[in-house]
Symmetry: C2
Subunit: 105 residues, 2 copies
DNA sequence: TTAGTATATGTCAGATGTGACATATCGCAA
DNA sequence: TTGCGATATGTCACATCTGACATATACTAA
Protein backbone atom coordinates (compact mmCIF):
# COMPACT_ATOMS: atom_id res chain seq x y z
CA UNK A 1 0.00 0.00 0.00
CA UNK A 2 1.22 3.44 -0.82
CA UNK A 3 2.14 5.82 1.97
CA UNK A 4 -0.36 8.43 0.79
CA UNK A 5 -3.14 5.89 0.90
CA UNK A 6 -2.06 4.76 4.32
CA UNK A 7 -2.34 8.28 5.64
CA UNK A 8 -5.76 8.71 4.11
CA UNK A 9 -6.89 5.58 5.90
CA UNK A 10 -5.41 6.58 9.22
CA UNK A 11 -7.59 9.64 9.20
CA UNK A 12 -10.61 7.41 8.72
CA UNK A 13 -9.94 5.55 11.91
CA UNK A 14 -8.31 2.43 10.53
CA UNK A 15 -5.60 2.53 13.17
CA UNK A 16 -3.02 1.83 10.53
CA UNK A 17 -1.30 4.09 13.03
CA UNK A 18 2.27 3.20 13.78
CA UNK A 19 4.42 1.26 11.38
CA UNK A 20 4.21 -1.62 13.82
CA UNK A 21 0.46 -1.69 13.78
CA UNK A 22 0.59 -1.28 10.06
CA UNK A 23 2.81 -4.31 9.67
CA UNK A 24 0.45 -6.30 11.85
CA UNK A 25 -2.25 -5.90 9.27
CA UNK A 26 -2.51 -9.14 7.40
CA UNK A 27 -2.48 -9.19 3.63
CA UNK A 28 -6.16 -10.07 3.62
CA UNK A 29 -7.06 -7.16 5.82
CA UNK A 30 -5.10 -4.79 3.63
CA UNK A 31 -6.70 -6.22 0.51
CA UNK A 32 -10.16 -5.89 2.00
CA UNK A 33 -9.58 -2.29 2.97
CA UNK A 34 -8.25 -1.38 -0.45
CA UNK A 35 -11.17 -3.13 -2.03
CA UNK A 36 -13.53 -1.19 0.17
CA UNK A 37 -11.74 2.01 -0.70
CA UNK A 38 -12.24 1.33 -4.39
CA UNK A 39 -15.95 0.84 -3.86
CA UNK A 40 -16.18 4.04 -1.84
CA UNK A 41 -14.36 6.05 -4.47
CA UNK A 42 -16.56 4.64 -7.18
CA UNK A 43 -19.66 5.49 -5.22
CA UNK A 44 -18.61 9.11 -4.89
CA UNK A 45 -17.80 9.34 -8.58
CA UNK A 46 -21.11 7.82 -9.56
CA UNK A 47 -23.07 10.11 -7.32
CA UNK A 48 -21.33 13.17 -8.68
CA UNK A 49 -21.84 12.05 -12.27
CA UNK A 50 -25.52 11.64 -11.45
CA UNK A 51 -25.57 15.21 -10.12
CA UNK A 52 -26.99 14.08 -6.82
CA UNK A 53 -26.23 15.61 -3.44
CA UNK A 54 -25.42 13.31 -0.55
CA UNK A 55 -28.81 14.21 0.84
CA UNK A 56 -30.56 13.11 -2.34
CA UNK A 57 -28.62 9.88 -2.55
CA UNK A 58 -29.40 9.23 1.10
CA UNK A 59 -33.11 9.45 0.35
CA UNK A 60 -32.64 7.06 -2.55
CA UNK A 61 -30.97 4.61 -0.19
CA UNK A 62 -33.37 5.11 2.73
CA UNK A 63 -30.41 6.34 4.67
CA UNK A 64 -29.03 9.66 5.90
CA UNK A 65 -26.64 12.26 4.56
CA UNK A 66 -24.16 11.55 7.30
CA UNK A 67 -24.02 7.88 6.43
CA UNK A 68 -23.51 8.64 2.76
CA UNK A 69 -20.64 10.93 3.73
CA UNK A 70 -19.16 8.10 5.76
CA UNK A 71 -19.58 5.66 2.90
CA UNK A 72 -17.69 7.92 0.55
CA UNK A 73 -15.05 8.57 3.19
CA UNK A 74 -14.71 4.83 3.71
CA UNK A 75 -15.36 5.14 7.43
CA UNK A 76 -14.67 2.15 9.65
CA UNK A 77 -18.34 1.93 10.46
CA UNK A 78 -19.30 1.22 6.85
CA UNK A 79 -19.62 -2.34 5.61
CA UNK A 80 -18.77 -3.60 2.16
CA UNK A 81 -22.32 -4.81 1.92
CA UNK A 82 -23.65 -1.28 2.37
CA UNK A 83 -21.34 0.03 -0.34
CA UNK A 84 -22.42 -2.69 -2.76
CA UNK A 85 -26.05 -2.02 -2.00
CA UNK A 86 -25.57 1.67 -2.73
CA UNK A 87 -23.73 1.05 -5.98
CA UNK A 88 -26.43 -1.32 -7.17
CA UNK A 89 -29.07 1.25 -6.33
CA UNK A 90 -27.14 3.74 -8.42
CA UNK A 91 -27.42 1.38 -11.34
CA UNK A 92 -24.16 -0.51 -11.21
CA UNK A 93 -24.34 -3.95 -12.79
CA UNK A 94 -22.83 -7.04 -11.33
CA UNK A 95 -20.25 -6.95 -14.05
CA UNK A 96 -19.33 -3.40 -13.14
CA UNK A 97 -18.98 -4.33 -9.48
CA UNK A 98 -16.68 -7.12 -10.55
CA UNK A 99 -14.59 -4.66 -12.51
CA UNK A 100 -14.27 -2.33 -9.52
CA UNK A 101 -13.19 -5.17 -7.30
CA UNK A 102 -10.73 -6.55 -9.83
CA UNK A 103 -8.77 -3.37 -10.13
CA UNK A 104 -6.00 -2.65 -7.69
CA UNK A 105 -6.35 0.46 -5.57
CA UNK B 1 -34.13 -15.55 -10.41
CA UNK B 2 -34.85 -19.16 -11.19
CA UNK B 3 -37.42 -21.05 -9.19
CA UNK B 4 -34.90 -23.67 -8.12
CA UNK B 5 -32.62 -21.00 -6.76
CA UNK B 6 -35.49 -19.34 -4.98
CA UNK B 7 -36.29 -22.60 -3.19
CA UNK B 8 -32.68 -23.05 -2.20
CA UNK B 9 -32.72 -19.59 -0.68
CA UNK B 10 -35.98 -20.10 1.14
CA UNK B 11 -34.43 -22.97 3.00
CA UNK B 12 -31.63 -20.68 4.08
CA UNK B 13 -34.01 -18.36 5.80
CA UNK B 14 -34.23 -15.61 3.21
CA UNK B 15 -37.98 -15.38 3.57
CA UNK B 16 -38.35 -15.31 -0.17
CA UNK B 17 -41.35 -17.22 1.10
CA UNK B 18 -44.59 -16.39 -0.63
CA UNK B 19 -44.76 -15.02 -4.13
CA UNK B 20 -45.84 -11.74 -2.60
CA UNK B 21 -42.80 -11.47 -0.40
CA UNK B 22 -40.70 -12.53 -3.31
CA UNK B 23 -42.01 -9.73 -5.46
CA UNK B 24 -41.30 -7.27 -2.70
CA UNK B 25 -37.62 -8.02 -2.98
CA UNK B 26 -36.00 -5.20 -4.88
CA UNK B 27 -33.69 -5.89 -7.77
CA UNK B 28 -30.75 -4.79 -5.66
CA UNK B 29 -31.62 -7.18 -2.88
CA UNK B 30 -31.93 -10.04 -5.34
CA UNK B 31 -28.64 -9.12 -6.97
CA UNK B 32 -26.90 -8.94 -3.61
CA UNK B 33 -28.20 -12.33 -2.58
CA UNK B 34 -27.17 -13.95 -5.84
CA UNK B 35 -23.77 -12.35 -5.54
CA UNK B 36 -23.46 -13.69 -2.02
CA UNK B 37 -24.51 -17.10 -3.21
CA UNK B 38 -21.77 -17.10 -5.81
CA UNK B 39 -19.19 -16.25 -3.18
CA UNK B 40 -20.47 -18.99 -0.90
CA UNK B 41 -20.39 -21.59 -3.65
CA UNK B 42 -16.88 -20.57 -4.60
CA UNK B 43 -15.76 -20.82 -1.00
CA UNK B 44 -17.01 -24.37 -0.72
CA UNK B 45 -15.35 -25.36 -3.98
CA UNK B 46 -12.06 -23.82 -2.95
CA UNK B 47 -12.09 -25.51 0.44
CA UNK B 48 -12.79 -28.88 -1.11
CA UNK B 49 -10.07 -28.41 -3.72
CA UNK B 50 -7.69 -27.58 -0.88
CA UNK B 51 -8.71 -30.80 0.85
CA UNK B 52 -9.60 -29.01 4.02
CA UNK B 53 -12.41 -29.93 6.40
CA UNK B 54 -14.71 -27.18 7.62
CA UNK B 55 -13.02 -27.57 10.97
CA UNK B 56 -9.57 -26.96 9.45
CA UNK B 57 -10.75 -23.98 7.47
CA UNK B 58 -12.40 -22.60 10.60
CA UNK B 59 -9.06 -22.70 12.39
CA UNK B 60 -7.45 -20.92 9.45
CA UNK B 61 -10.06 -18.20 9.73
CA UNK B 62 -10.07 -17.97 13.53
CA UNK B 63 -13.68 -19.02 13.39
CA UNK B 64 -15.72 -22.13 14.08
CA UNK B 65 -16.91 -25.12 12.07
CA UNK B 66 -20.50 -24.08 12.44
CA UNK B 67 -19.83 -20.66 11.00
CA UNK B 68 -17.97 -22.14 8.04
CA UNK B 69 -20.96 -24.39 7.42
CA UNK B 70 -23.19 -21.34 7.49
CA UNK B 71 -20.92 -19.46 5.12
CA UNK B 72 -21.06 -22.26 2.61
CA UNK B 73 -24.81 -22.58 3.07
CA UNK B 74 -25.15 -18.82 2.54
CA UNK B 75 -26.98 -18.40 5.82
CA UNK B 76 -28.70 -15.08 6.51
CA UNK B 77 -26.34 -14.44 9.37
CA UNK B 78 -23.29 -14.39 7.09
CA UNK B 79 -22.02 -11.12 5.66
CA UNK B 80 -20.44 -10.60 2.28
CA UNK B 81 -17.45 -9.22 4.11
CA UNK B 82 -16.94 -12.50 5.94
CA UNK B 83 -17.11 -14.43 2.69
CA UNK B 84 -14.59 -12.16 1.01
CA UNK B 85 -12.29 -12.44 4.01
CA UNK B 86 -12.44 -16.21 3.85
CA UNK B 87 -11.80 -16.34 0.12
CA UNK B 88 -8.81 -14.06 0.45
CA UNK B 89 -7.45 -16.25 3.22
CA UNK B 90 -7.80 -19.20 0.92
CA UNK B 91 -5.60 -17.42 -1.57
CA UNK B 92 -8.09 -15.77 -3.88
CA UNK B 93 -6.74 -12.69 -5.61
CA UNK B 94 -8.64 -9.49 -6.01
CA UNK B 95 -8.95 -10.25 -9.67
CA UNK B 96 -10.46 -13.63 -8.90
CA UNK B 97 -12.96 -12.07 -6.53
CA UNK B 98 -13.90 -9.68 -9.29
CA UNK B 99 -14.47 -12.58 -11.62
CA UNK B 100 -16.73 -14.34 -9.14
CA UNK B 101 -18.78 -11.21 -8.65
CA UNK B 102 -19.02 -10.48 -12.35
CA UNK B 103 -20.57 -13.77 -13.22
CA UNK B 104 -24.30 -14.20 -12.93
CA UNK B 105 -25.52 -16.86 -10.53
C1' DT C 1 -20.55 40.33 6.78
C1' DT C 2 -24.74 37.11 6.44
C1' DA C 3 -27.34 33.34 4.58
C1' DG C 4 -27.80 29.21 2.15
C1' DT C 5 -26.28 24.79 0.44
C1' DA C 6 -23.22 20.88 0.60
C1' DT C 7 -20.26 17.98 3.06
C1' DA C 8 -17.91 16.19 7.36
C1' DT C 9 -17.74 14.43 12.11
C1' DG C 10 -19.27 12.66 16.71
C1' DT C 11 -22.63 10.10 19.19
C1' DC C 12 -26.06 6.70 20.30
C1' DA C 13 -30.03 3.28 20.45
C1' DG C 14 -31.52 -0.39 17.95
C1' DA C 15 -30.43 -3.85 14.25
C1' DT C 16 -27.47 -7.21 12.38
C1' DG C 17 -23.24 -10.20 12.36
C1' DT C 18 -19.93 -13.31 14.83
C1' DG C 19 -17.59 -17.10 17.35
C1' DA C 20 -18.65 -20.62 20.25
C1' DC C 21 -21.14 -24.30 22.02
C1' DA C 22 -24.48 -28.15 22.00
C1' DT C 23 -26.65 -31.22 19.33
C1' DA C 24 -28.42 -33.42 15.15
C1' DT C 25 -27.65 -35.63 10.77
C1' DC C 26 -25.05 -37.74 7.21
C1' DG C 27 -21.71 -41.16 4.99
C1' DC C 28 -19.02 -44.88 5.36
C1' DA C 29 -15.95 -48.48 7.22
C1' DA C 30 -15.65 -52.39 10.46
C1' DT D 1 -25.72 -52.98 13.56
C1' DT D 2 -21.96 -49.74 15.92
C1' DG D 3 -18.72 -46.18 15.72
C1' DC D 4 -16.48 -42.19 13.86
C1' DG D 5 -15.37 -38.14 11.12
C1' DA D 6 -17.61 -34.50 8.57
C1' DT D 7 -21.25 -31.40 8.01
C1' DA D 8 -25.67 -29.06 9.46
C1' DT D 9 -28.67 -26.49 12.64
C1' DG D 10 -30.26 -23.83 16.73
C1' DT D 11 -29.05 -20.66 20.27
C1' DC D 12 -26.79 -16.92 22.68
C1' DA D 13 -23.57 -13.28 24.55
C1' DC D 14 -20.87 -10.04 22.67
C1' DA D 15 -19.24 -7.19 18.74
C1' DT D 16 -20.04 -4.47 14.81
C1' DC D 17 -23.08 -1.84 11.65
C1' DT D 18 -26.78 1.47 10.71
C1' DG D 19 -29.91 5.45 10.46
C1' DA D 20 -30.72 9.47 12.74
C1' DC D 21 -29.62 13.54 14.94
C1' DA D 22 -26.75 17.45 16.32
C1' DT D 23 -23.21 20.09 15.07
C1' DA D 24 -19.12 21.65 12.60
C1' DT D 25 -16.81 23.08 8.49
C1' DA D 26 -16.40 24.66 3.55
C1' DC D 27 -17.76 27.22 -0.20
C1' DT D 28 -20.71 30.62 -2.83
C1' DA D 29 -23.59 34.41 -3.61
C1' DA D 30 -25.72 38.65 -2.11
Amino acid sequence: MKESKKKALEKRGWSVGSAKDFLKMTDEEAALIELKLSLAENLKTRRQKSHLSQEQLAKLLDSSQSRVAKMEACDRSVSIELLLRALLRLGATRRQLGAIISKAA
